[in-house]
Amino acid sequence: MKWSLPALAALLLFYPFILTGPFYWDIGVAFLLAAISASAWNIVGGYAGQVSVGHSMFFGVGAYTPLLFYHLWGLPPVAGVPAGMLVSLVLAVAIGMPTFRLQGHYFSMATIAVAELIRIFVGTWDLVGAAIGLQGPAVGRAWWDLTFRSELPYYYIFLAVLAVVLYTTFEVERSRFGYYLRAIKAGERAARSLGVPVRATKLKALMLSAVFTSVAGSLYSIKTGFIDPESGFGILVSVQMVIIAALGGAGTLFGPLIGALLLVPLQTATNTWFGGGGSGLTYILYGGIIVLLARFEPGGMHEWWQRVAPRLMRRSHAA
């Protein structure tokens, strides 16, 4: 499998020139964004096994701050990205500290509740646009406003961020921190007995995940030029992250990419087939996929392939 990584990198790098035009570039950007968000979620949800179903709170914070910086002070949206990361970090600590000393369910419940809390609250707060939301610069004043007409620059910016997230995950996987995360997921009690500082490790994972998710949100709002409570903090944002990571293989490096590869084209297709009322059917499909995954293959496509591939190899050798 040694050739696969450079091949993947090359494919991603040259994709816009293989499949050209706004339609394909749009899907490419959507794919990258989905992969980034899901990879960010994967750190705490996949590796550490702490299932957050309200990760949209970090995404939304990251999405709002750039447009807020523009709306309030006329600054280029990019300037708001670090602020988003900082707020997300604080939020992660606020949620993780009380819940990580309790059973896992409390954390999951807390993530939904806080995401909803923020969504409703932001919807009533005029300073951040209330229910209407915020807009970015319609026309770029300079290059650093990052308002490109074409999808292409966004594609490469997102690709760079994805590379950073994946590389970080890769380094984490090999490190003491990564081993501890996996140990916590595999058996907290045993991990404790080996000296793993469970609570602190979970918290670190959540903080790292929150920061990356925040960046994903920032990328989204900078590109789209618009954000509102639903697109920032809505439950569907959380669902998408979870399903993509889980479908591909939660707790694996490339799982989120595989999931994004499967789901983003699917979503584009169902939106076209089902038309206007389509989004409802898409989410019925998502719900169904998640249930089936949970019931039959919680390890996702990665796990499924690990089980099936040896059998296929054997058959091809026998033939």
């Binding site: 299932v51 609250f121 719900g287 949970a294």
Partner: protein
């Protein structure tokens, strides 16, 4: 006087919260499993009530019973086909299973019933009564009292009957229960049926007074989380008190700060609970 009315209204709604939350806490205490689709069970109960009224012209007894029964069956089916298999697996699978189910139920309801808010055509129970100067809409009064009665009934079922003690035995120690000849699988299926059924009938009761759409499941689910956390892990009496308290807090928040804040305050309370007293009023944490 208006304040007293608000308080009573809050308590009556809180009684319904207590009813549907006791099912959630029963499952949690018994199987260490949180049902993320519990709010959807309530929501479906409301639609069952609607269908009974619209198609069969049934009254409160009919649609109440229908909601309870239909959801009981759904609860058992969900247990047998899904929960039983994920229970012993990884946490991710457990949480995703009911989370996915919630999405499935919610968006299927959106598809079938559309996102419009509906209400129950009120035939038999209507009007208001004047109790010591407080004006109470009859449906809310009846619903609240029924909810309290049903929650108490559930509590008595668990603590005073043989079946109840079998359920609690499984909750306490699965292996010991098996040695005593109790079948944990059956008891757990029954628990799911009871939990879903009580959620369903709670929905039917609520449908008598409040309009709804498929989106309410999400809110009810979160409310149930707050109630069971406040009441304490696994405690049905705790859920009863907590339900009333939450209903009261909600009503007062809406009254003092505005209707938008009723949910914000409840979720903020949840966050505060997690920091300060996660074991709630009566739980074992």
């Amino acid at each position: 006087m208006l304040l007293v009315q608000v308080i009573v209204g809050g308590l009556l709604l809180g009684a319904i919260y207590a009813l549907f939350s006791s099912g959630l806490t029963l499952i949690w205490g018994m199987m260490n499993f949180i049902n993320f689709a519990h709010g959807e069970f309530v929501m479906l109960g409301m639609y069952v009530a609607l269908l009974v009224v619209v198609w069969l012209g049934g009254g409160p007894a009919a649609f109440g019973f229908a909601a309870a029964f239909a959801l009981f069956v759904l609860g058992v089916i969900v247990y047998i086909s899904l929960i039983r298999h994920v229970m012993r697996g990884p946490m991710l699978a457990q949480i995703l299973s009911t989370f996915g189910l919630a999405l499935l139920l919610r968006y299927t309801a959106f598809w079938i019933f559309s996102a419009n808010f509906v209400s129950l055509p009120q035939v038999s129970l209507s009007g208001t009564v004047n109790v010591a100067g407080i004006l109470m809409p009859v449906p809310q009064l009846v619903a609240g009292i029924a909810a309290i009665a049903l929650t108490l009934a559930l509590h008595l079922l668990l603590t005073r009957t043989t079946v109840g003690s079998q359920l609690l035995a499984v909750a306490e120690d699965r292996n010991a229960a098996m040695l005593m000849g109790i079948r944990p699988d059956r008891m757990q299926a029954l628990a799911w049926g009871l939990a879903a059924g009580s959620a369903g009938i709670a929905g039917a009761l609520m449908a008598m007074s409040y309009p709804w759409s498929p989106s309410v499941g999400e809110t009810f689910g979160l409310t149930a989380f707050v109630v069971v956390t406040l009441g304490g892990f696994g405690s049905v009496p705790g859920a009863m008190y907590a339900g009333l308290i939450i209903g009261l807090i909600q009503a007062l928040s809406a009254y003092w700060f505005g209707p938008i804040y009723k949910d914000i305050v409840v979720y903020a309370l949840f966050a505060a609970l997690l920091w300060l007293r996660p074991q709630g009023l009566m739980g074992k944490a």
